[in-house]
C-alpha cells in the first residue's frame, strides 16, 4: 500500500529536489504504519493532509526566503499573496472556474482516450484481436461453424493462438438446497497460458483440459469464491454441479482476471463441446486470437479472409462468408460518434475556457488603475507582469489540485472493471500525460487571459496609463461575441438546470415516494429463463411444472407470470384504438399477464370478465383487459368493454389482429412516473421470453429465493431463476438509482449555473469598473443616482430576460423529450421553476453589479473631473 499518488505528486511539485527523496520515504513509511493501524481510508486522508501540510510549508518558506528567483522578489510574492487574499470571493470564484475547467478537460480527454483507444488491461493486450464471421453479402455478423473455426485455427500463420469464449447464466448447486445462479464463461483452455493471470490457489487451465475424456474442470473468480465459499482455500479439488454436469474446481482466479470473460466462473470448454455448440447455430460465441510478433490485424484479416473464402468454396450451396479481424475493443463505424464526442468536448472546453478567460480578464482589468499606479511609482513592467504571473500560477496550482481530486473521485468508480458494466477495454485511469497537458493548458489560458490586460496597461508611459485607467478605456476586450456568449450561457444554464431539477423532482415524487397499489412487502419477484436447446412446448411445460411446484410450497398464496414489475413503468406499445371519435394510434402501456395474475397482485375485475384459461390457447380469439384509468384517460369515461384495439402497423408491415376488450380491472397503475399515463392494456401472456414470475406469499417472503432456485433446479437443472427480490426491496433499489441519477443531473445543472453566474459577474464587474470615472463625472455634473444605476440594471435585466426566455423554451423542449423518452410526468409548476431560476439569476447578476456600482458612486466628483 503506497502513499496516495496525489500526495506524492504534490510533494514533487513543491519540495526542493535535494529534500524530496527523504521526505517521500518518510511519508511512505508513515503511510504504511497508518494503513496497518487506522485502515486504508483514514490513512489516505491523514497522508493527504500531511503532504499538503509539508508542501505548503515548503512553499511558504521559500516565499519567505525570497528564493523564487530573479523574475520576482520575495516581497512581490508576498504582495501577490496579499492581493489574492484581499479579494477572497474573486479569487475563490476564479479558482472554482479554473477547477471546473481542469476537471472537465481531464475527464473529457480521459474518456475520449478510453473510447478511442481501447486496450486490454495487461501487457501485450494490444496483440489480442477479435475475429468475427460476416455474411459476405449483407456484412452482418453470422455464427461461426465448427469447420470454419478449425480452419482458422489450423491455417492462421499470423496468429499464434485462436480461442473462443461464451458467456451464459448457470445454476450452481452446492447441494440440493443451495442453488445459486452465476455467470459462467466457457473458455478454450489453450487460451490460459497466454494470459498473464496466475491463480490465487490451485492451477489454471491447460490444453490437456480440452482433450476428449478429460474431466470437466472450472476456475472460480475471487468474488465468487468469497461469496459462495467464504474464501476457503480447500475449495480446490471440490466437485460442484453446474446445470446438469458435475465439475471439479481446479483453482481460484484473482480479481484481475477480466479477459476473455468477466464471468464469475470460468469453465474449461472441451474441444468436443465447443464443436457441438458451434454447430448448434446459436451465435453467442466470441472468437479471438493473439497476433504473432510482427503481424498487424490487417495481416491476420487478409490471411483469415483467404481461409474463409476457401471454406466458403468448399460448401457451394451455402451463403458465402467473410471475416473481420480487429483489435479487441475496436469498434468499426465509430468515426462519426467519435467526431461528435470530440466536438462536444471541444465545445464544452471552449465554453469553460471562455468563462475562465472572461473572469481572469475582468479580474486583471479591474485592477488596471492599481497596476498603472504601481507602474508610475517606478515598478518595472517585468515586476508587475511577474507578480500577476505568480498569482495566476498559484490559482492554477490550487485549481488543478481541486480539479484533479474531483476527477479522481468521479472516475475512481470506473476502476473496477468487473463491476462497472462497461467494456473491459476501456481504461479510465488518468495518464500523467493528460494531467500535465491539462495543467499547462489551464496555465496557458489563465496566463494569456491574465497577462494581456496587464501588458496593455503597462505598455504606454505612466501618465497615459494613469489617464487611460482613469477613463477606463478598455473597449474591445468584450465585444458582441462576449455578450452573446453570456446570453447563451444564461439560457443554457436556466434550461439545463430547470429541466434537471424537474426531472429530479419527477423521479423523487414518482419513484422515490410512489403510491403503490400492490402489497409490495408480500410480493416476491424473479426472472425465469427456460433452458436453451429445448423447444417452445417443452419450455412451456417446464414453466407450468415449476409454477405448480411453487404453489405447493408452504406460505405461498398465489403464483403468476407477467412481463411487468408492479410499481415501475410498463413498456408502452404503439396501439391502434377504435373510438367513437375515430381510430387513433397511441403509445399505450401494455403488459402480458399469465393466468391468475390479478389474484396474485390483489386486483379485482370491475366490469366484464377476467382472462380465462382458454384465452391462452393457440388460435383462441384475441382478447384483452384494461384498467379503470384506461377508460377515463383514453375513452372519456365510456365503457371500454366491447371496444377493439390492435398493434399498430410497423413501418414495413401489417397491423396486428384486432383484440377485443372483455373486461376492466380495478387499480393497477401501469406508469410509476406519469399519473396521466397509468391507463393501459393487459394481454394474455403467450411468449415466455423475458418473463417475470410473481409469487405472492402470506408471510414476508424474504429468503424465498433459495427455495425458489432449489425448486427450479429440481424441475430442470438448467431452468434459471434470476434477480430474485421482494418487490419492496427491488423498488428500493430502483429508487436509489433514480435518486443518485437525479442528484448527478441537478449537480451538473448547478455547476453550469454557477459558471454562468461567474461569467455574468465577471462581465458586469468589468463593465462597471471600466465606467467608474464616467459615472463619477456624471454624478459630478448633477446626474441623480437613479440615472446612473437604472441603465446598468436595465443592461443586466436584458441579458437575463433574453437568456431566461430562450432558456425556458430550451428547457421545456428538454422536458418534452424527457417525457417522451422516460414516460415521466413533471410537477405542474413547470414554468414556475424556470421563472424562479430566471429570478435567481437576475438577483445574482444585480448583486454582482452592485459592488462595482457602489464603488463607482463613491468616487468624489472633483476627483473624477480632475482625472479627465
Amino acid at each position: 500500500m503506497t502513499a496516495p499518488w496525489l500526495a506524492r505528486a504534490f510533494l514533487r511539485l513543491t519540495v526542493p529536489k535535494e529534500e524530496l527523496e527523504a521526505i517521500l520515504g518518510d511519508l511512505e513509511e508513515v503511510h504504511r504504519w497508518r494503513v496497518a493501524v487506522r485502515g486504508a481510508k483514514t490513512a489516505w486522508l491523514l497522508t493527504m493532509h500531511e503532504a499538503f501540510g509539508i508542501g505548503s510549508r515548503e512553499c511558504r518558506d521559500r516565499i519567505a526566503d525570497g528564493m523564487t528567483g530573479r523574475w520576482i522578489s520575495g516581497s512581490e510574492v508576498r504582495l501577490a499573496a496579499r492581493l489574492l487574499l484581499r479579494t477572497p470571493m474573486m479569487t475563490a470564484t476564479s479558482v472554482f472556474a479554473l477547477a471546473v475547467g481542469v476537471a472537465v478537460a481531464t475527464i473529457g480527454f480521459t474518456s475520449v482516450d478510453a473510447i478511442l483507444n481501447p486496450r486490454l488491461p495487461f501487457e501485450g493486450g494490444d496483440r489480442w484481436v477479435s475475429i468475427e464471421a460476416l455474411d459476405a453479402e449483407s456484412r452482418h455478423s453470422r455464427s461461426v461453424e465448427a469447420t470454419l473455426f478449425e480452419r482458422w485455427r489450423s491455417e492462421s500463420r499470423t496468429l499464434v493462438h485462436v480461442g473462443a469464449v461464451r458467456e451464459t447464466l448457470v445454476n450452481l448447486a452446492l447441494d440440493e438446497d443451495r442453488v445459486a445462479v452465476v455467470s459462467a464463461g466457457f473458455v478454450t483452455p489453450s487460451t490460459m497460458p497466454l494470459l498473464p493471470v496466475r491463480p490465487l490457489h490451485g492451477r489454471a487451465f491447460t490444453p490437456a483440459d480440452a482433450r476428449p475424456g478429460a474431466p470437466p474442470v472450472v476456475l472460480l473468480t475471487e468474488p465468487l469464491w468469497l461469496r459462495l465459499f467464504e474464501g476457503d482455500p480447500d475449495v480446490v479439488g471440490r466437485s460442484i454441479r453446474l446445470g446438469d454436469t458435475t465439475y471439479t474446481v481446479v483453482g481460484v482466479l484473482p480479481n484481475e482476471a477480466v479477459y476473455p470473460t468477466l464471468a464469475e466462473l470460468w469453465v474449461a470448454w472441451s474441444a468436443q463441446d465447443l464443436s457441438a455448440h458451434l454447430d448448434s447455430g446459436v451465435s453467442d460465441t466470441g472468437v479471438f486470437g493473439v497476433l504473432s510478433a510482427e503481424a498487424q490485424p490487417s495481416d491476420a484479416n487478409d490471411q483469415l479472409g483467404s481461409a474463409t473464402m476457401a471454406w466458403t468454396d468448399s460448401r457451394p450451396d451455402q451463403p458465402a462468408a467473410t471475416v473481420l479481424v480487429r483489435r479487441v475493443g475496436e469498434v468499426s463505424g465509430g468515426g462519426a460518434p467519435s467526431a461528435l464526442l470530440i466536438a462536444v468536448l471541444v465545445g464544452a472546453l471552449g465554453v469553460v475556457a471562455g468563462n475562465v478567460g472572461n473572469l481572469v480578464v475582468a479580474r486583471t482589468a479591474a485592477r488596471r488603475g492599481e497596476l498603472a499606479v504601481r507602474s508610475a511609482l517606478g515598478a518595472s513592467r517585468r515586476r508587475i507582469v511577474g507578480q500577476l504571473a505568480f498569482e495566476v500560477l498559484v490559482m492554477t496550482v490550487l485549481a488543478s489540485a481541486l480539479g484533479f481530486a474531483a476527477t479522481r473521485l468521479l472516475l475512481g468508480a470506473l476502476d473496477d472493471r468487473r463491476t462497472r458494466d462497461l467494456p473491459v477495454t476501456m481504461d479510465f485511469s488518468v495518464s500523467p500525460r493528460t494531467l500535465l497537458f491539462v495543467f499547462f493548458a489551464t496555465l496557458f489560458v489563465a496566463t494569456v487571459a491574465g497577462l494581456v490586460p496587464a501588458l496593455r496597461s503597462t505598455r504606454s508611459n505612466a501618465s497615459d496609463a494613469l489617464r487611460a485607467a482613469g477613463r477606463g478605456s478598455a473597449r474591445g476586450i468584450f465585444g458582441w461575441f462576449g455578450h452573446t456568449m453570456i446570453v447563451v450561457q444564461i439560457a443554457l444554464s436556466i434550461g439545463i438546470l430547470g429541466a434537471a431539477t424537474m426531472i429530479h423532482s419527477g423521479w423523487l415524487t414518482q419513484y422515490v415516494n410512489p403510491t403503490l397499489d400492490v402489497p409490495a412487502e408480500q410480493l416476491w419477484m424473479a426472472g425465469l429463463i427456460p433452458p436453451t436447446g429445448i423447444d417452445r412446448l417443452q419450455a412451456d411445460a417446464l414453466s407450468e411444472e415449476y409454477l405448480r411446484r411453487l404453489r405447493e410450497l408452504p406460505d405461498v398464496r398465489a403464483v403468476a407470470l407477467s412481463t411487468h414489475v408492479p410499481g415501475t413503468d410498463a413498456d408502452a406499445r404503439m396501439i391502434e384504438m377504435e373510438r367513437v371519435e375515430g381510430e387513433a394510434i397511441l403509445r399505450i402501456p401494455t403488459i402480458d399477464v399469465g393466468p391468475g395474475y390479478f389474484g396474485a397482485v390483489g386486483h379485482t375485475v370491475l366490469a366484464g370478465r377476467g382472462l380465462r384459461p382458454e384465452d391462452y390457447l393457440p388460435g383462441a380469439p384475441a382478447v384483452g383487459l384494461v384498467n379503470a384509468d384506461y377508460a377515463s384517460q383514453l375513452l372519456s369515461d365510456r365503457n371500454p368493454v366491447g371496444t377493439r384495439v390492435r398493434a399498430a402497423a410497423p413501418a414495413d408491415g401489417e397491423p396486428g389482429p384486432w383484440i377485443e376488450i372483455v373486461g376492466v380491472v380495478g387499480g393497477p397503475s401501469l406508469s410509476a412516473a406519469d399519473p396521466e399515463r397509468t391507463g393501459g392494456l393487459f394481454l394474455p401472456l403467450r411468449n415466455l421470453d423475458a418473463t417475470q414470475i410473481i409469487v405472492r406469499s402470506i408471510e414476508r417472503p424474504s429468503g424465498f429465493g433459495a427455495q425458489a432456485r432449489a425448486t427450479a433446479f429440481s424441475v430442470h437443472p438448467r431452468l434459471l431463476v434470476t434477480g430474485d427480490a421482494v418487490l419492496s426491496e427491488r423498488l428500493g433499489n430502483v429508487r436509489r438509482i433514480y435518486a443518485v441519477m437525479g442528484s448527478i443531473l441537478t449537480g451538473l445543472g448547478v455547476v453550469i449555473l454557477v459558471l454562468s453566474l461567474v461569467a455574468v459577474y465577471a462581465l458586469l464587474s468589468f463593465e462597471v469598473t471600466r465606467r467608474t470615472r464616467e459615472i463619477g463625472v456624471r454624478v459630478a455634473l448633477g446626474a441623480a443616482r437613479a440615472d446612473v444605476v437604472v441603465p446598468i440594471a436595465r443592461r443586466v435585466g436584458s441579458y437575463v430576460v433574453v437568456g431566461g426566455v430562450v432558456g425556458t423554451v430550451f428547457g421545456l423542449g428538454l422536458l418534452w423529450m424527457a417525457r417522451e423518452m422516460l414516460v415521466l410526468r413533471f410537477p405542474a409548476t413547470g414554468a414556475g421553476t424556470f421563472l424562479t431560476l430566471t429570478g435567481l439569476v437576475l438577483a445574482s447578476a444585480l448583486l454582482a453589479a452592485l459592488v462595482p456600482v457602489r464603488r463607482a458612486l463613491g468616487v468624489r466628483p472633483i476627483e473624477a473631473l480632475r482625472a479627465d
Binding site: 521526505i23 520515504g25 511512505e28 513509511e29 508513515v30 518558506d61
Partner: protein, 108 residues
C-alpha cells in the same frame, strides 16, 4: 561559543533524536516523540523544527541507503552535535535551578 536556549519543542525533539539512536530519521523521531514524549506532531512541523535545529548547528544530517519499506527511498538520518548536547545540558541546568524550590501540590 554561546550556548543557545531551547524552546520546549526543540528540547523534546533533540531528546527524541538522541533516544531514536543511530537510526534517527523523521518517522522514527516522530514515533519516539509520540510514544515517549507524549506529543503528536505532523511530519511537516517536524521538518521545520529539524531544519531550524540544523541551521543553528544543534543537529546534523546525513543521507542513508534506499530501503524497500520506504518504496526504495533513502532516509535522512539526524544526529545531535556537541553544540546540541551542550544546549540540552544547559537547558536542563536552568530547569533544575528553577525547579529547586517548587513545592509539591498538597494531596487530599
Amino acid at each position: 561559543m554561546e550556548v543557545k536556549r531551547l524552546t520546549d519543542v526543540e528540547l523534546l525533539l533533540l531528546l527524541s533524536v538522541l533516544r531514536a539512536g543511530e537510526s534517527a530519521h523523521a518517522s522514527s523521531i516522530q514515533e519516539v516523540l509520540a510514544t515517549q514524549g507524549e506529543r503528536t506532531t505532523s511530519l511537516g512541523s517536524l521538518y521545520v523544527t529539524l531544519t531550524r535545529l540544523e541551521e543553528r548547528g544543534l543537529i546534523e544530517s546525513s543521507k542513508g541507503a534506499p530501503t524497500a519499506e520506504r518504496g526504495g527511498k533513502a532516509k535522512r538520518f539526524y544526529a545531535v552535535t556537541p553544540a546540541g548536547l551542550a544546549a540540552l545540558h544547559r537547558t536542563r541546568s536552568v530547569f533544575e535551578r528553577m525547579w529547586a524550590d517548587v513545592p509539591q501540590p498538597e494531596r487530599g
